[in-house]
């Protein structure tokens, strides 16, 4: 699960990391009030950043500076409501604009291949790390936290020295350890600071330089959310498709795509394979849908409803290889779902494995079109979609 920058900063702050103050504004007026307070505190300018869960908001014009409260209100007004990669901006973060001396990149990520937490740092901060990886791979410093002891101080120092942060050693060690702590405390897959920056600050004792986290990106391990009830609240309903939310609540993996053939499959690998075969047969999948293991009739009905909500869907392919999942349960769910459905779409059903015979009896009685091989099922679904496609095409 991705969370917004402001929430990610909150998690970092809770682990004692140096994150400058921020406010979240849902309207230009709120942004103006936040800016007024920040400017009154001595800041010369404020930065206003769109809060969306997609990258590239800077390029899209979602990050802007303002020198006065008036300007902040206007800038916030221009950002709120804009669309970035299909997401409507509904809130902005307002913070004092930092006087940046130098920008760095630092992240902690679960390295699946090494089966350890990987710390990744670079003196080339503020730009996309993927681009740095392509242009200057040698500029990326990596170190694996010990799988049993966690990140050791010496590892953090080593990273800091190699990133060129030897002059801010203690602070850099604190940030590196804090990232890992944030990761472990919240079961995050990724905790990323970009930029981590040395900024100039004016205090009563004069100008000082310190290391601060200017941006933050955290993604959470969905499997661990049940044990972090507080984190579930950070899910942003503004950015979640209502269909996604329903799928999630039903325990279904669902991703809407652009094609016309709805797919209902058990198992992620088999679901992708089914999509591949639909495409191979000349069709386009309308979705990825994995009903998971041991799915019961009501889950099947929910899955069917999710597929049928998409007006583009002109045929449905059900492919179930029963292991834990019992074929007859799925068949019953399909029959029930069809009884309730308002839109008539051709359906090709293939159920093999556990209780396949019982399923076949039920499906035959209910007059479903069935298939035995997966290739055959894909071909039949594509053919059905084509015949429907003509009619719906005519209807448009």
């Amino acid at each position: 699960m991705k969370i917004q920058e402001a929430d990610a900063k909150g998690l970092l702050l809770a682990q004692g990391l140096p994150v400058p103050d921020w406010s979240v504004a849902h309207s230009p007026a709120e942004a103006r009030a936040a800016a007024e307070s920040i400017l009154a505190g001595g800041a010369e300018r404020v930065v206003i950043k769109a809060q969306v869960l997609v990258g590239g908001r800077g390029k899209a014009g979602g990050v802007k500076l303002a020198g006065t409260a008036d300007e902040a209100e206007a800038v916030a007004g221009s950002i709120l409501g804009m669309t970035i990669k299909g997401i409507t901006v509904r809130k902005v973060l307002v913070a004092a604009a930092a006087d940046i001396v130098k920008e760095y990149y630092l992240s902690a990520v679960l390295d699946r291949a090494a089966r350890r937490i990987l710390l990744m740092g670079s003196a080339e901060g503020g730009v996309e790390i993927e681009q740095v990886a392509v242009d200057h791979p040698e500029a990326i410093i990596t170190i694996h936290a010990d799988p049993l002891l966690g990140l050791q101080d010496w590892q953090a120092r080593d990273l800091a020295f190699r990133m060129g942060l030897g002059g801010h050693l203690k602070a850099a060690v604190g940030v590196a350890r804090g990232l890992v702590r944030t990761m472990l405390a919240n079961d995050a897959d990724l905790v990323e600071i970009n930029p981590l920056a040395i900024v100039r600050e004016t205090t009563t004792d004069g100008t000082i330089e310190r290391l601060v986290c200017l941006d933050a990106k955290v993604t959470l391990d969905d499997s661990a959310l049940p044990r972090h009830p507080g984190l579930e609240a950070l899910r942003d309903p503004d950015e979640e498709d209502p269909a996604d939310a329903r799928a999630r609540e039903a325990g279904i993996s669902f991703i809407r795509l652009d094609g016309t053939i709805g797919c209902m499959v058990n198992g992620a690998g088999l679901a992708m394979t089914t999509m591949d075969l639909v495409k191979r047969a000349g069709g386009e999948p309308a979705n990825f849908l994995d009903i998971g293991g041991g799915a019961k009739a009501d889950k099947v009905a929910t899955a069917m409803a999710l597929i049928l909500e998409d007006p583009k869907v002109s045929a449905i392919l059900v492919n179930i290889f029963g292991g834990i999942t019992r074929g007859d349960e799925v068949a019953r769910g399909l029959i029930e779902a069809r009884a309730r459905q308002t839109r008539s779409v051709p359906m090709v059903v293939r159920i093999v494995g556990t209780n396949a015979a019982e399923a076949a009896d039920l499906l035959r009685a209910a007059k479903f079109e069935t298939a035995t091989s997966l290739d055959d099922a894909a071909a039949k679904a594509v053919a059905a979609s084509r015949s429907m496609g003509t009619s719906t095409g005519a209807g448009r």
Binding site: A224, A268, L270
Partner: protein
């Protein structure tokens, strides 16, 4: 012969008194697997599977009393990492963790301890393994198998069944089928399994079933290119048409940048001498094309 499990397997089922544990233990026993013990804390002294299997409170007791050497875990996600560590400490050699939904960071220290002690963990979130005619550990439906000499390794669940069923339907039997699991942090990789198959005299051909995401297939292919040149090999990669940047279920199939794509995996496998199928149903024909005569 076979890998991981076989006639010498003496299985203890951790969580045997749970609904899932009991259901699948029964199926394993029906297949002929020697289930010597069950283990559920607090149920020690009872029996399971109609009185045929003694249940113990601890793995230490289960191993001491029954000589179990393999375990299969059906414990819920919250307790599964602990169950793995208990199996390791009790001296179990081969541990299958079927449990899904274990937080990834919980597994980081566990796989390290497994590595340090020299035990073998398959999974978590894996369907288990079957050595047809000898033993079945996990949840792969018995009906898909046939005795033979093709080693199968896969990171998917139902896709494995599909592929194995296709082979069986075509008269091609398997030495062992292994599902390594689709979680972010797993105990045994494609490469590990290929090495085991390479050392098994009864495995005379290989089928690898991969998915988009990560580089485990590429890593395995690189090793196979060097060490498994003379054996017929076929493969299938799921997700060729998956759009970039979308997460396809918790198999963890994420495409990022140029690595982990179906194209890169197919290329690596073909370079290593695998014949790569466009559909699981093509695997039997490709194996035959590659010279397999089983």
């Amino acid at each position: 012969m076979s890998i991981l499990i076989g006639r010498d397997t003496r299985l203890v089922v951790q969580g045997i008194t749970g609904r899932e544990g009991e259901f699948h233990a029964r199926a394993m026993q029906a297949y002929g697997t020697s289930i010597v013990a069950g283990m559920t804390p607090g149920k020690g002294g009872q029996t399971a599977l109609d009185g045929t299997v003694p249940v113990f409170d601890t793995m230490q007791a289960a191993v001491r009393e029954t000589g179990a050497n393999t375990s299969c875990i059906f414990v819920p996600a919250g307790g599964a990492p602990d169950a793995i560590l208990e199996a390791v400490a009790a001296g179990i050699d081969t541990i299958f963790c079927i449990t899904e939904g274990i937080p990834a960071l919980d597994m980081v220290p566990v796989v390290e301890v497994v590595r340090l002690t020299g035990a073998r963990l398959i999974g978590p979130n894996c369907p288990g393994a079957t050595s047809p005619g000898q033993a079945k550990v996990g949840i792969i439906p018995a009906s898909v198998h046939r005795e033979g000499n093709v080693g199968v390794v896969s990171r998917s669940g139902t896709l494995t069944y599909e592929a194995v069923q296709a082979m069986t339907d075509a008269g091609i039997g398997q030495s062992t089928c292994v599902g390594i699991g689709g979680d972010p942090v797993i105990g045994t990789t494609f490469l590990d399994v290929l090495k085991l198959f390479a050392a098994d005299p009864d495995t005379r051909a290989l089928v690898l079933i991969g998915e988009i995401g990560g580089a485990a297939e590429e890593e395995a292919a690189a090793w196979a290119a060097e060490h498994l040149r003379d054996i017929p090999k076929a493969a299938f990669i799921a997700g060729r048409t998956a759009p970039e940047g979308k997460r396809m279920g918790h198999a963890g199939a994420i495409i990022s940048g140029g690595s982990g794509t179906a194209a890169s995996k197919v290329a690596a496998l073909e370079a290593a001498g695998f014949r790569v199928a466009g559909s699981p149903t093509e695997l039997p024909a490709l194996l035959r094309e590659a010279g397999y005569r089983g």
